[in-house]
Symmetry: C2
Subunit: 340 residues, 2 copies
Amino acid sequence: MAKRSPSGKVDIRRVAEEASVSIATVSRVVSGRGPVTDTTRARVERAVKRLGYRPSASARSLRTSRSMIIGILLPDLANPVFVPFLRGVQRVAQAEGYSVLVVDAQRRADVERLALDRLAEQRVDGLVLAGAARDPSRIEELRKVGMQIVARSDRIVDPEHGVDDLEAPGTLAMCTSLAELGHRRIAFVSRGDMLGDAGDRRLELIALSCRSLGINVEQVTVDPGANAGDVGREISAVVRRHSPVSALVCSTHGLAPTLLGAIGAAQIVVPRECSFVTYGDSEWAVAYRPAISVITMDLFAIASALTRRLIGALRGVPEIDVAHEPARFVIRDSVGAAPS
Amino acid sequence: MAKRSPSGKVDIRRVAEEASVSIATVSRVVSGRGPVTDTTRARVERAVKRLGYRPSASARSLRTSRSMIIGILLPDLANPVFVPFLRGVQRVAQAEGYSVLVVDAQRRADVERLALDRLAEQRVDGLVLAGAARDPSRIEELRKVGMQIVARSDRIVDPEHGVDDLEAPGTLAMCTSLAELGHRRIAFVSRGDMLGDAGDRRLELIALSCRSLGINVEQVTVDPGANAGDVGREISAVVRRHSPVSALVCSTHGLAPTLLGAIGAAQIVVPRECSFVTYGDSEWAVAYRPAISVITMDLFAIASALTRRLIGALRGVPEIDVAHEPARFVIRDSVGAAPS
DNA sequence: CTGAAAGCGCTTACAG
DNA sequence: CTGAAAGCGCTTACAG
């Protein structure tokens, strides 16, 4: 074992000394580009291993003006739907040699702003938006400065079907199912402080799908911080009034347990009294009794594809756009015939 | 509006020109340290704003040898228990001016190794381990090179009670409850490919707690990839055999829905035939019928405290160690008297 | 209070 | 195939 240099600091110069070559040569070996003799390469590699040398990312970035970091902006990390998305970004980025800087906007515009500033200072090569940004103009600015940006909400335009949103097919399928089961009046339930326009877009899609099916849609907002009893009474009022709603559509997966707890507290029987559907799937939705019907998409796959696209663009070899799987409706026990 | 420089690239030199001061002065204003006249400061700040200048993190890091990045190593991002932990790290780091580099080891030693190498190259100032590392020796190496590292599994030694693990109190409380309810034989259920020794440690804790309580503990491993029917039969065999187990303790929150699905498939009635407890809480556990009893700790708070400690150490002002809340046992409907 | 200059650790033309 | 040198964009003593 060779003695470690006393300072402990191992830079390229130190490696060059150890291997008795120039700094340039070490760089060529380490980066893998540039011609080197096999013997030279071997000597350098040995020195690298012996000293435990790791090139400094900041020095490299400064020189090459590529940080090899991609940022991901999460509107709200507390919302579990973003986790598979984050995983997808992670997976691809890591595999392609990029590091991932994660920022959580915490549903707050000021936090988002600070976070974006920090991403800008880090000179991330690319940015993935996991959801709608609170301040789109700031995103535009970054784009103008040359940052590559992709967003989950990038619309997919299918000229044949006129579909411009990944969620439309799943939403339509759900509404169709409900119509066939005799539902004529349903409620879309979201939290009062819904982030951005995601909830609104879903409501729009539902309204659009239901119009031609003869289903009436109304909107209910609940406070997720309230206790189950209070929310239960609110839901109960909608399900048990004179012309009641016969199905509840929950706007996000994160809200579902709250709502189910409230439904339980109000002793509403699903699906006999009222059917239940939520956006977003999980193993808990499957394990729940009755098993919960969902509108879901494979966010992991979508994030992977998006990130692949981003990295392709960064390398100047744009990927052929992988077709995104649209959302599907998965019907389970929580949906049944409308009570007569 | 001033015209943007044609190249679009805005560096400190460009700002200096715009404000007609030296580069050094701009640096002093931007970093906030160093004496400057109010008029100078104002002029520089105006130039900064006008040009949209953001100092380059890599240049700064190179110069100061502080990256202002902290890394977090997640053993498995697919495991939802890590999410609140990640949030806690995020929250504190962001508030203190640090960026967070997230790496997911994907339960794989090779991925972990690569990820750690990358963190080393980024020269992260600190590293938070969200769980046990697959290769502890690698962690030790990083520590030796001067990286500040804190780990969730850092034992808390309470000399008074001899408790050396945050989970011990919750585990003991659970075992005590079960004993009082007449349970004499319980099973600890974990996935076959359990990560590191987290599961083993839990099993140890349970065994330790149960010994003095006269409870028998056995271990059952299941394949989370198997279908509910198969897992159900496996569980059923343990719950309905001659000297049956009267309570199941699920090793992680992620496994709980799988297990509950299997229990449902096998038509085992909880808690009448068998009580059920899991490590890790969520709103779904609360909403589930029967509501699931859990051993839980506030990972968000723990991560926050840990990160605060890390940043304190980085700044050379070690925090007084905030006491970590230990795990608690939250009893809900899924736990009842042992069948006679 | 301000500026000129050195240097952080790399990569990349440019010579040889 | 290899080396010497310039320079990426900052910060920090050092003078003034």
